[in-house]
Assembly symmetry: C2
Homo-oligomer: 144 residues x 2
DNA sequence: CCTAAATCCTATTGACTATGTAGGGATTGG
DNA sequence: CCAATCCCTACATAGTCAATAGGATTTAGG
């Protein structure tokens, strides 16, 4: 299951994507529109900023906007920031490989082979879904 | 990421599958061979038993054996017991559907559409991998 | 029938994580 | 300058994960 943090992040980013424009949107506004606890959202946006997914503008009239075109921000990008690797095991993670603590021999691990196939399937989907497409979908269904 | 519990469960089940035979294997033996904390393994096997994945024999000369043919026990079956639904969100779970707490309208949720595709891809893989195939793989590579 | 060996069951513990809150520091537009 | 805004650190609370403890129940075999 994805975390609540991930849901909040995705909702906030979809709002930014829907705005499209370049003027920053303030935390307070996002929090209110998306019913996200303000201080928690603050922390989430800060993390997203560190990875370049969003950009911030400080001071009066400040706020957040997307760090790159919405079509270049995938669901996988976001989930990796909020929830860590997509993989079901460190030994099948592409972005953050690590041997399992109790694995005696990676190359012959039958569990690993299955989890690797699962990771590839998940990553293929989540990397192909981006904010632009999702926002457009919402627009078409009249939800925005 | 899957839980440690899931790893232990899969390893224990692979051992049972490799034995093939019908005579029960005792907790103590599985724990020692697979380096699993004995009491923890006890709890895991108990859970697996409740869902029919394994069968137990009490009393002297007791122990555990697979509850059905190894080829009919998928990785998905096991992970659902130890780690809950495969889905990344309750609203895309087939085995345990539930509306997300803060979802205003399921039918137009753009997040849901992506997570649903991810679930289908993962489930397709994990339901197709079973203990018999995994055990055979181990046998071929000389790990058993 | 008695006992040893095994599973079954409930409760508890310690460490860690998830979700949020509090308070103030740093920056910048007007 | 000052007020609005993001930035940062610390803390709180509840829940989950991994493991342990201790005994109750069942059964094979003498």
């Amino acid at each position: 299951m994805i975390s609540q943090k991930a849901r909040y992040a995705l909702r906030a980013l979809l709002l930014l994507a829907a705005r499209g424009g370049n003027d920053p949107v303030q935390i307070a506004e996002i929090a209110e529109k998306e019913k996200i606890p303000r201080k928690f959202l603050e922390a989430i946006l800060l993390e997203l900023k560190k990875t370049g997914i969003v950009r911030s503008h400080r001071g009066r009239q400040g706020g957040y906007s997307l760090g790159r075109p919405a079509k270049d921000i995938s669901f996988a990008d976001v989930l990796r920031v909020t929830d860590g690797p997509l993989a079901l095991s460190p030994c099948v993670s592409v972005m953050a490989y690590r041997k399992c603590d109790d694995c005696f021999e990676v190359s012959v691990c039958a569990i690993r082979k299955a989890l690797l196939a699962a990771r590839d399937a998940t990553a293929q989907i989540l990397e192909s879904r981006n904010l632009a497409a999702a926002a457009q979908q919402l627009r078409r269904s009249g939800a925005l």
